[in-house]
Symmetry: D2
Subunit: 454 residues, 4 copies
């Protein structure tokens, strides 16, 4: 394999980071990617989108996260190069010639994300993974030009690491596996900025026990509990932050808002900035995509607050001024009540297409630790004294418990006014509200009478 | 005095905050102000503007800061009500009837800020203090409507606390003095999000030793060192964060960018969103102001990156993609070299009006501890065992030192390419660069020959 | 019920505490107990005994822990008195007349502990619970005299709270239950001083959701995850700190050292300070007990390092100079190998009675969360919106997993020299070591040949 | 110069440390010194002696501090070896052949300390520096034997680094200078364990900017503020912790207690453990010294609480049970009042020789930053872009202020009962107390009438 090299900077560039202390940039290629307009654009895209409506401190962006992942890959390479340097090819140890490649992949693993990625993709048929590949390899981007100073095919190699097609599993799994630099950074970062205590697993200990082996990356057995702790942190962050009902409510509103905007645009009646227009028309280019960010989206929402369409205007205000829907837990059985409830809501004057929704946290990119199934190859393994490997859930009852756990819930969203009359919403007549409220108890739907078993 | 009251919430609303743990909202009026669109708008205005170009974590907004100041006033009221309740009028202790008033003032003390306040105000003749007063008292704002549920003149009273014209000095100084809830919050918050270690003074101890007295607020003598520590933190935050040369450089670029936009707009040739247009025309309304935020500004900058005018387009890119100017320290003597240097820069092809600037950190709102002069009335006082007061710098040599300190510096900004040829800037001929660089040594300008004394 | 009252201090006494920030003492009776010689004695007894040999920072004492538990009960009382004050007897809310009682019980719950409690009790037939009751109620102790200023039977009442015989379950469970002030303090404190990351659950959130109810103390449902997190922390602290194999090894050495000392004392040949002599003789008084502490014990150990008996001298040195035994995991099956291994060890020159041991972490006071069985009444309950209670493991799969978990392990301890020849121990002949080492693999014992199934 | 080498450990030994995360031991010689009985003895000597009576968390020992200093020297060597490796002799950069030498010196720099060093030395004519040299070089100590595995004269070389006579100033100043590993560790450690917020300067930044130069160690100019912050932390720790009036009061009691014990011992009437006896007799050996620790001292104090001599018994109780003297500030003028006050105290029944004292914080090892005077050679220097050096106080007004600062105070100590009647002390007649109290105002002595100017 060719050794990937870049000019070293005369003086290392250092950035303060509240999570890792400092980000260190030592190579010209890293600095040039950092300076590119495609990378700087990440400053304008929040890491957690509408979650900042629930945790006001969560204003951090994909920019810092990408830098954090880069920094962790850099540190892991330092550790591997010092403690586990490959002597002969195929010895299962670390070949530091891969360093620049994995560092670039870490830095760019999320470069394809746009504003509110999941919602946006769903509605506008974009795909952040494909776009990311394009940003890295398209000869016109500043990133691709920067990467080429290492080797002509270096952009493609970086893209292949992110796409998990690069042959060396140590390189791929440092970025994408059940315990990779990506997750290690975002769990810590999201915990820091939301201010929750969960997610603060012992990174310094994880870095002490991480090591390469033939088929990827594992952990030595004296660090089993640190890895266990990391899995628990992940579970807690999902429960407390990523699956938070109010965050999901704001996402539901965002989705309905963009749906309504699409409908009205088709009718030719929507004020919109040019950067967003091409998406509504369905003929966007990479440049259009690169000109999108949270600010552009919110600028459009601000314009829409004064739209003539009352639903569009109301949803825009609900999003910008944080007026979430209420919600209740539902299950397979109580789901059958929804048509009835939607009908009550409709009678109070709300269009149920835009003012109700079901949202299942399981629909979201599932991330809990899964040693079997389609992600089976990324299971976490603990190396014993004699070099043999044992899969984590064999050793930890805690992880074993989480493994089969039914995580998250399904919820039904609707206007808060259905539960209380505090809001300044028009109310047709009161009995509707009372009728609705009978179906809600302890935060879940329930049958008034137990449905007869067939 | 009338007691200010608001309906208590059935259940307290609580927000996670990484700095204070939780923000507690117990009164309906506070919740209603919080929910108003004018207050929610603060979510879209960064607390430190371009400082996030230097410290990537500094993406926190004026929204969290306002909530933090509110929370601190709430806690101080709790402490005062428990430890120092007024028994008879004029006893110099705390009358808790003022609680709601001072809490609202804390919550709204910065409500008039728009995007990049200082730069924006200078160029568009806006004034965040006057606008803040208007947002609070104008009968059309949601905030004013929310405040009126306490009393018809409550908006005016809240505004008077912020304007420091309210007669009770304890109420005014809790929000505005050398050691007020405002500064206590922003020093801690800015330190947390930038990730610097400075600014983390011992808030829990300060809150233990703060107390009311006849003419305002002071500290008991067992807390002298905590207050001293707070003053040192302030000094360090100014040196390290607020006066950072790269942050100031980005601010200089922002200023030149907006100046250029104004010029071009006059010539009728600038694409701009409608919300910004009214400011360029000089006929903006309060609604226009309330529709501005960081995202709207950056949406315009994105549009301008493709403007025909090369200077506008270049400055917009420099701002969005973080390409700061270089800078050197100057003083009264070396200032005389600037015409010569501007001339060299001009010969290399840069318009010095847009590509150079001087910026003095002393020009910025000076905030260091000043017990005498025009802010004399807000000096920090330490109460002795026998109830007498001694001004802090009489007790602390550290504070005494800072008191007379010449803080900050004056700098000359110019394109980085003048110092190195790394940037892809057009270069007329090399000797110009060499000539320029002779004047720079150890980060400051210098005379090539010592100027003759007259 | 009589309201328990004590003179309030003119000025609150405040102590810095790294875990809770400050300890606040407001009542004269608390201050007087604090000043008593029996309480000050706790300064000289480490909280975690030999654990400081594994985690050098763990030098904190029972003194700070007792203060910490007091402080937490004080804060819980503040919260209960503010949020859940009893209006009518039997309403299941908090009667603040109990405050002083529960605060004293918190302060004194561990007052009966001596140096190395568990080991010491086992060998000298002392009982820290009974001694604690005596220290509180014996009319000659300074503590009993201090408590009597509240009421003549106040010492007995405080003792009854600690003994769990006091009738009010809210008072008892604040000190003794699966989620009490005692555990909340020691998990946080032990984590802080050992420097491990585990154990740092979100105390501020727990305090937000704790509440009284008819039969004790429960948590509101918005805090379920914080309580879950606390249970996980407990699990982790046991795994990582309390069950650490080296800490247990040092405890094994301590036990053998004291056993040997007893044997030699009987033979009339042991130098010993007078305070320890009475225990070796078996005729100790309360005053003797109160004159014991870690320093006295170690002073004796220092004397014994120069004893003529080589085993006593060697064990004393091993303890003082940290020379732990090695150990391997054993199970029901491999236990049968121990006679054979002890015999090998004996052949190398070590007396297996003093140089080997088995120690089972399950023998230690088992503390993991158990909602059924003999501690069933202390299960953790979560209050739903409608006031009904659900036991925690019904709601949390994580806790459910830990509930049935086989926590800890059983180990066989022996001289390190059996595994390597680094130590300066006499070695009879090498093959013994090789033979021994064949039975050890991946930190556990194993059969050389699989034993035949009967 | 010979390169100092030691066998590398097969597997690095790692210790958890709450301040630095982990202590890493990679060399056999370091591990052997660590295991020596002279080093392990440091576990039994508190770092801050009686300061734990004021800050209960401050139970940390000289053991952890020595390990922390070692760890910092190790990290500084890592940084120097990576960033500033010497290429040719005399180039002013770092020769990593010195690593093991400076690491051992860091580990052993305080090895000569015994219990309550400063008080003890003063009374028993010991000298911790000389004893430290002896422990390192005496051929009978385990430390000396361990060190000799590097080279026969290695003990002497290590001792010479600590004695500052080793020729290489970089090696010496890493351990002993105004900004050395010793101070960096203890400021952070003492802050962590006391729980104060001061002292937490930005160590990670200091380590980024530290560098070797011809005459020692300096800091690069981008780190000027981190060094300034460190100096301020030092100032604050002295003010808040090391000069705390109650800590000094306990030290005064300790001193009087040991003085009284000496007196009584001479009269042949003191029960004492043999290890302390040799000091009272004045014929102690190194072994005697190595058998002293805090526990031995306190074991003696416990015995003395039951001594017949009422002063000895009372002082022992005051020390063990924390009954500090009260104190007031005095100055050159008010000192003249002391004979009068001592006389009043005597009349109330206290022997002023044992129940009063003056103590000046300036008497303690003065440590504030002093660029001129006898410590002039250890001034802190900041390296400019062009390699020139500027002394710190030339650059920082804060440090300049501290430089000439009058730090600390002089106090007069006396029984608390003189100020209040709360204590259970015998009181002859009340007017004496009133008379005494007239001289005290705001924590200082004062003249009742202004003394006439001569």
């Amino acid at each position: 394999m060719a050794r990937f090299q870049s000019k070293k900077l005369k003086q290392e560039v250092v950035l303060r980071d509240p999570v890792h202390g400092y980000i260190h940039i030592e190579d010209k290629v890293i600095l040039d990617v950092f300076k590119s307009k495609e990378f700087q654009r990440m400053r304008r895209i929040k890491q957690l989108g509408p979650v900042s409506y629930v945790f006001p401190g969560a204003t951090h962006t994909r920019f810092e996260h990408n830098l954090g992942v880069y920094e962790l890959t850099r540190r892991i390479c330092d550790i591997f190069a010092k403690k586990y340097p490959s002597i002969t090819p195929g010895d299962g140890l670390w070949n530091d010639d891969n360093r620049l490649l994995v560092e670039c992949a870490g830095l760019l693993h999320d470069i394809g994300h746009g504003p509110y990625s999941h919602t946006f993709e769903h509605l506008f048929n974009t795909n952040h993974e494909k776009i990311g590949q394009k940003i890295i390899t398209d000869p016109n981007t500043e990133i691709s030009k920067a990467l080429k100073q290492v080797a002509p095919n270096f952009p493609e190699l970086v893209a292949s690491v992110i796409a998990k097609t690069y042959p060396n599993p140590q390189v791929v799994k440092m970025i994408s596996s059940q315990a990779d630099a990506d997750r290690m950074d975002y769990l810590q970062r999201d915990a820091y900025f939301t201010g929750v205590n969960y997610g603060r697993f012992d990174l310094s200990r994880i870095l002490r026990v991480i090591r390469p082996y033939q088929n990827g990356i594992c952990f030595t057995n004296n660090g089993m509990h640190a890895v266990e702790d990391y899995i628990v942190s992940r579970y807690q962050m999902y429960q407390q932050v990523y699956f938070h009902r109010v965050g999901r409510s704001m996402e539901v509103i965002l989705q309905h808002l963009l749906e309504r905007a699409k409908d009205i645009y088709k009718k030719g009646n929507l004020k919109v900035t040019s950067s967003l227009a091409s998406f509504l028309e369905g003929n966007w280019t990479l440049d259009d995509y690169l000109n999108l960010d949270d600010g552009v989206m919110e600028t459009n929402f601000l314009i829409w607050t004064e739209a003539q369409d009352p639903i569009l205007s109301d949803l825009a205000k609900r999003y910008l001024y944080r007026k979430p829907f209420a919600s209740v837990r539902i299950d397979e059985e109580t789901k059958n009540l929804l048509p009835k409830l939607r009908n009550i809501i409709k009678q109070t004057g709300f269009n149920p297409d835009y003012y109700t929704a079901t949202n299942s946290a399981f629909d979201e990119p599932y991330d809990a630790y899964k040693p079997s199934g389609k992600n089976a190859n990324s299971q976490i393994e603990i190396m014993q004294d004699d070099g043999s490997l044992i899969e984590l859930s064999q050793l930890s009852p805690l992880v074993r418990a989480l493994n089969g756990t039914f995580q998250g819930d399904e919820r039904f969203f609707f206007p808060k006014t259905m539960l209380s009359h505090d809001e300044d919403q028009p109310q047709i007549f009161d009995p509707l509200y009372e009728q609705f409220q009978k179906y809600v108890k302890n935060g879940a739907l329930r049958y008034l009478r137990k449905p007869r078993k067939k």
